[in-house]
Assembly symmetry: D2
Homo-oligomer: 411 residues x 4
C-alpha cells in the first residue's frame, strides 16, 4: 500500500523500516471492529496531541451506557475507525496525495471539537457559544495548541483540515455528509458495543463503492440496496439505541445539570468545552450534587408524559429551549413541586440526512429518496416514533403528568 | 431447564445421567450460529432417521453458492437451529408438555419434505405432484418409514406433527407462519454463511417475545421495531442474496435441467423428490450433460433481458409455466437458436408474508402493516426490485434479447 | 427455566408477569458478549445499589486501554457476565435453591471490593490496609450500606455471600477458584474488547461441564483439552495483553501517583478505596499533576531496563515494595535525576492457579498438572516471559539503565 | 493497492475500470471469513477453470461434518482465503512482481491436486499412485488441461507454480511450509465453521509479520507468542476437531469403502482422483452399498478398542497399511465375524511441523522449539492424545475388542 502515502510521510519514516519494504511507514493499532488499523506517519503524529488523547476519555454514546451496559466505547477508538475507513475509501477515489493527507487528518480529528459526553452537551455549548461541535477552526488554527503545531510540522493547512471537518467542498462530504465514513464507523461500532445487531451495514462495500462524479461524492452503480441499508440501520438504531427513553431521560438530566453547573460555578464555557467525561462527572458531583448523584447511581427520573406527534398541538416540535424551560416552571408550579424536578424534553423533528445520498442508477446520479421507494416509508416510521417526554422523580409522575398535559395542551 | 422436558423424554433418559442432575436428558451439538444446541431425547431419536440424515446433503441455499462461495450450509444444521429456537420460544409460551413435544418434533422435521436443492426443485415437484414441500403427511404417516416408526415409538402423533409443519392451528404458526422460527434461523444463518450482514435480526429477542393471545401467536408489547427489522432483513436479503441474478440464472438452468432429466430418464418423481443434492448432480451429469456440466463449472447463461415491472405488459407476472415455455420456443425460433438454449424467468409478484405479523401495540393486537408505516415502503421497494429475465449462452444475448422484447411485448 | 428460581424471587415477582408464564421473574439486559442476560429478582434488586452501580465507572482493564484503545469495558458489565455464567453453571450443579441464590449474589457482587482502576490499585490498598479486593465483609455486612440492606431484604446472609466471594467452601470455588466463572468471563470479554483472539475459550462448554465430586468442583470426563485451553488462553493473554510493557509502565506510574496522592492529600485510604476511576483521575490531576498529566496524555515513561529472570540475581523476584523504592532512590542518585522519575517494576513470579484445576480422567479426579503434559510447558513459557523493568522519562533511559544495571546487579 | 499488480494484470484489465482509478483490476468476492477478497485478473482467470471450480464440490473437512454439522465449507472458499492471505503477505515481503504473480497463482491452486474428500482419500491415492496431493505437476503442466492453458495465457510458468505448491525454494514456504498461509486460513476457517473457538489465531498479525531473512521465511521480532499461538491452536483443533474419534471412524470407513470400490469397479485411480465428493458418494452407494449407506445415514461403526501409546507394543505406530489389513483379518477371524466388518486405525506419530517455525528473537533467527519452552509441552500433549482404534458394528464391539487386544498385543 506504500504508494498511496504522501511524500511527506515517506520521508519522515525513511529510517524506521519496521514494517518491511512495501509498507515501511505504517504503525498498526488493534481495533475491536476493524482488526488492525495501520497508522501513517501523519496520523501517528496527530494522535499524540492532547486534543486527540483527550478523546480517550469522551464516551461515544454518553448516557446510552445506562441502557446498554457494554456501550463504553470512546470517541478515540471511533476516530481511529473513521480514519481507517477514510484511508480505504481514498484508495478508490481519484484525489491527489495532498488532498488525501488533508482528508486523513480531517477524519482523525473530526471529533476533537466535542465537549464532554459528546452530543449530549452539544446543545448547552451551542446555546452559550453559538457553535457546533464540528466548527473546530478555533482549535485547529490556534498556533498555541499542539494540534495546530503538529499540523504545521506535517506541512498540512489547519484551515483546510477544519473546512473538511465541516463537510465543505465536494470531498469534505467524505468526512461529513450523508455518505460520510463517520456514520459508517459509528453504526458498526455502536452495534458491536451495545450488542444490538441492527447496525450491521456492509461498510466494506460502501467504502469501496464511493466515487466522485462531477465533483460530487456518490455511490456507484448497483448500490441502491447498500444505500438503503445504511438508512434503515440508522432508523433502527434510533429506535432501539440512540433514542431509547432511558437514554433520553438521562441525557435531559445531564443537560439540566450542566446548565446549573455553569450557572452556579465560575466555570467558563470554553473550559467546560474542553473537559473530558471524568472532569464533568466530578464537577457535577460537587456543584450539582442532587442530579449528579442520581446520574452516577442510575437513579433516574421517570416518564410523566411520553406521547407522539399526533397528540401535541401544531408547532410543538419547533418550540425553543427557553419556551421549554418556561413550560417546566409552569408545570412544576401546577404540580406543586420544585421547578428543578421537572424536565420537558421535545426533540427536533426527525431528519433523515441519508435520504439525500447520491447513487448512480442506470448511469444517472439520483438522490436516494428519488431512487428508492423505501425512503418515504422510513421517514414515516421515524415520524411515528417521535416522542415528547416530561420527566420527574418517580413518586410525582402522576401529578406532573396531569399538569403537563394541561400546560402543554396535549391530547 | 429440566422441567420443560416431557415425561417421555425423562423416562427414556433416566439411566444416562451424562449431564448432571438438572438437565440429565440433553445431548449437546455444536452449531456455528447458536453455539451449543441441546437435544432432548425426542430430537436425538428423530435425528438418527434417514429422512433427517438426508438433509446433511441438501444445501440450504442451492445455487446461491455460485455467488457467495461460502454458502454451503445444509438443511440439516438449519433444522437443528429451528428446533433450538422453537425449544427456546416454548419456554416463554403457555403450552402443555405434549404440545411442546409435538412442536419440537415439527421444528426438527419441518424440511424433510424438501427435494434435492431445496426450494430450487419445488416448482418441478409441484408441477408433477401438485404438492408443496411442507405437505409431509405422505412421509411422516407412512408406517414403512423409519421416521414414522420413530415418532410412534416416541408416542408422538405423526399426523399432528405433519399438521404443525403445514402451519395449521394457532400454535402451528410457530413452525410455519409469518413469525415462525424457521425464518428467524434462516435469516441469521444465511447471513453468517454468505458473509452478508443484513440478516442480523435480534432472534434472541424475537423468540423471547412471542406470546399466545386469544389463540394467536403475537409479539408482545414494545416490539414494532423488532418486527420491522425482520421484515426489512428479508427485503435486503432478497435483494442481495436470494434473488441475485446469478443465483436466479443458475436456478432457472437447474429447473430446466431437472425437467429434461425427468422427461428423458425413467426416474419417477417420487424417487426424484427423495434424492439428495449429490444424487441429482450426478444424474444431471449423466442424463442432461450440456446443462449439467455448465452448472458444475459455473459456466452460466447470461442475461439477454433483465427488466422491471414497469416495462412488461399487464398480467405478465401471472403468466404460468406452460406459457413461459411457449415463449421460450418462440424466442428461440425468432433468434434462430436451439429452443433448449433460451430460458424465460418470470418470478411471482413479491409477497411479504411478514407484513401480517401480529404485534401488541398499546395493549391491542395489530397487524404489522397497520402498526408500521414502514411496511408500505418495503412493499414498494420489493415491487421496484422485481425483474423479468431472459437468459441464454453469452454469445447469443443480443439476438435473443431482441427476439424476447418482441415476443414478450416489452418496452 | 422458572423452576430454578428461589421462592423468594417468585413471590416478589408475582405481580409483574412481564415475561410470560414460564419465566415471569426475569429481566433481560443486552450484553455484547453473552447477548441477553436474564436477571432474576435478586440480581435486579442488588444491581440498583450504589456499590454495584459504581462498577460502571471502574474499568475492567485499567491501563490496558493505552495499548488496546477499545478496551474500555467496565467491571459492571463483567459482573453481569459472571452472574450469567454462574447462573448457567448452577443449572448443571446439584445445589439447593438457597445456596444457588447466595451463589448468584456472590457472582454479581464479586468485584464490589475493587478500588478505582481495579487490580492496578490493589497493591496500594493492600499496603495500607492489609486487605485484598476480595475481602468484602467490611462492605457487605455493614448495616449502614444499601448493599447490606438489600441482601437482608432479600433474606440472604451477607456474611455467607462475602465468604463465597473469598472462594471458601467447596462451592465458593465457582466464584473464586481455579475453575471460576470469573476467569471464564474475563478471558472472553477481554478478548472481545481488545480485539485479540486468544481469549476465545469455550465458556459454553466449560460452564456446562462443571460437577461437584465429593464436595470438590471439577470438570467432568473428557475435558482435559477444555481445561488446557483455559490455561493456555490465560498464558497468551498475559503475554500480549495483561503484561504488555506499555500497560505495565502505565500501571507502575499510576501506582506511584496514587502513593504520592495519599501521602500529600488528606485523603483517607477508606475513601480512596471507594473512588471510581473518574474520581481518581481528577484527584491525580490536582494533587500529582506531573504524573497525572502524563497518564492522561499517554506521555509515558520508557524502558531503561527490560530483562528476564536469567539476568537477575537470585531472590530478586521476591524483593518487597520497600526495597524496590530504595533501589529507585539509589538508581536516581547514581543517574543524577529526581528520585520521583525512576520506577523499578519487579512482578511476582508467575503463578498458574489454573494448573491445579481438577478434571475427571477415566473416572478419577486428577489435578490438571498431573493429567496434562502441557502444564509444565506453559509454566516454563510463563517463566521465560517474566521481565524486570526500570522506567523513566524517555530522554534519560540511557543513564538510568546504566545505573540500574549497577544497583540491581543485573547481567 | 494498484502498484502491486503485475503488468500482465494491468493490461488485461485496462478497459474494465469497474473499480475506480486506484484499483481498476480487482474483482471482489464476499467471503464469510475475510469479508471482501479482491481478485486480481490472474486469479479471476484461473478461478474459471474446471480444476478450480471442482473444488466447490470438495469439502474442506470431509467426515468432520458428521461431528460438527456446520462444517460444510469447501476447498474452493479455502483456496480463495489462502490466495487472499498470500496476497496480503506479499505486500510486506520483498519479492519481484513476477514472483508475486506466481505465488498468488500457487496459493489459489494449491489444493487442485486433492482427491474427493480431500485428505481422507490421500492414503488410497498414495498407495496406488505413489503421489501426494501437492504433487500437481501432472495437472498444471498438461497442455490439454484448461488450467495449464490458462497459466500460459497469463504468461505464468506452470512448472514454477507447481514447484511453489510443493513448497520448494525459500519463498515456496509461504504456500507450503511451517509458516504457510494455508494453515493460517484453515485454522481460522475451520473454527468459524465448526463453531469451535480454538482456531482463533491472529492471522492479521501473522501475515504482516512475515519477513525474508537470508532467503528464509521468518516471523519478525516480537512474535514468539504469535508463533506459539498457531502451534497451540493446531494442537487444540487436533484434539477436538481433526482427530475426533467419530471423524476418525467415518474416515477409516471411507478409506475402506474407497479401496473396495477401486477393487470392484473398473474405475481407474486417475479418474477416481479427479472425482468430486458427490461423484464418490454416488459411486460408493452403487458399488459398496453396505458401507456407502452407513456413511450416508451416519450409521457408523463404534470403538472396540481406543487406547494410548503407552498400551501398545513398541513400533506399533510405524506399522504399515498391509500389516494393518492383515491384523483386521486375524481379528475378524478370532471374533468370528466378516473381515470387512473390522477396521484397525493406527495413525502416524504426531508431528508438529510448526515447531520448526523460524522466529527472530533479539535479532537472531531461531527455531521456535529453541525459542519457546512451550513446544516441548505441546509435543508431549500431542503424544498423550495419540490413540490406536479398532472399529466394528456396534453389536460386536465386545468380541472384536477382545480379539484385537490379543492380536495386537495390547495392554
Amino acid at each position: 500500500m506504500g504508494q498511496r502515502r504522501s511524500k511527506k510521510g515517506r520521508e519522515q519514516a525513511e529510517n524506521e523500516l519496521e514494517w518491511g519494504p512495501f509498507d515501511p511507514t505504517m504503525k498498526p493499532i488493534k481495533d475491536s471492529v476493524h482488526d488492525y488499523i495501520a497508522l501513517d506517519p501523519v496520523a501517528e503524529a496527530l494522535i499524540d496531541t492532547p486534543s486527540v488523547q483527550r478523546l480517550r476519555n469522551v464516551k461515544q454514546l454518553s448516557t446510552v451506557r445506562l441502557v446498554y451496559p457494554a456501550a463504553n466505547h470512546t470517541r478515540f477508538e471511533h476516530s481511529l475507525g473513521v480514519y481507517h475507513l477514510a484511508d480505504t475509501a481514498i484508495e478508490y477515489l481519484d484525489v491527489d496525495a495532498d488532498t488525501a493527507d488533508h482528508l486523513r487528518a480531517a477524519a482523525l480529528l473530526h471529533d476533537v471539537g466535542h465537549g464532554p459526553y459528546g452530543h449530549q452537551t452539544e446543545d448547552v455549548i451551542h446555546r452559550r457559544t453559538g457553535r457546533d461541535h464540528d466548527e473546530v477552526g478555533w482549535l485547529l488554527t490556534d498556533p498555541d495548541r499542539p494540534v495546530c503545531q503538529a499540523l504545521e510540522r506535517l506541512e498540512l493547512d489547519p484551515e483546510r483540515v477544519a473546512t473538511l471537518i465541516e463537510g465543505e467542498g465536494h470531498i469534505g462530504a467524505l468526512v461529513s455528509g450523508e455518505l460520510d465514513v463517520d456514520r459508517m464507523d459509528y453504526l458498526t461500532r455502536d452495534a458491536h458495543h451495545t450488542g444490538v445487531p441492527y447496525g450491521a451495514i456492509d461498510h466494506g462495500r460502501l467504502v469501496r463503492e464511493l466515487r466522485l462524479e462531477n465533483g460530487r461524492l456518490v455511490l456507484g452503480e448497483g448500490n441502491v440496496a447498500t444505500a438503503e441499508s445504511m438508512l434503515y440501520s440508522r432508523a433502527l438504531m434510533n429506535a432501539v439505541v440512540y433514542r431509547h427513553h432511558v437514554s433520553r431521560i438521562a441525557g435531559a438530566m445531564l443537560d439540566r445539570a450542566c446548565e446549573r453547573y455553569l450557572d452556579r460555578s465560575d466555570a467558563e464555557i470554553g473550559e467546560f468545552r474542553r473537559m473530558a467525561d471524568h472532569d464533568l462527572l466530578v464537577a457535577l458531583a460537587e456543584h450539582v450534587p442532587a442530579l449528579g448523584q442520581r446520574l452516577e447511581h442510575r437513579d433516574l427520573y421517570k416518564r410523566a408524559v411520553w406521547t407522539g406527534i399526533e397528540n401535541v398541538p401544531p408547532g410543538t416540535a419547533d418550540v425553543g429551549y427557553e419556551e421549554q424551560r418556561r413550560a417546566e416552571h409552569e408545570i412544576a408550579e401546577a404540580a406543586g413541586i420544585d421547578p428543578g424536578d421537572v424536565i420537558v424534553d421535545i426533540p427536533d423533528r426527525p431528519r433523515l440526512k441519508e435520504s439525500s445520498t447520491s447513487v448512480v442508477v442506470d448511469g444517472v446520479v439520483q438522490r436516494l429518496e428519488d431512487a428508492s421507494e423505501l425512503v418515504r416509508g422510513i421517514r414515516m416510521a421515524e415520524r411515528a416514533r417521535w416522542r415528547l417526554g416530561v420527566y420527574c422523580p418517580e413518586e410525582r409522575t402522576e401529578q406532573v403528568g396531569e399538569a403537563a398535559r394541561d400546560v402543554l395542551d396535549l391530547r
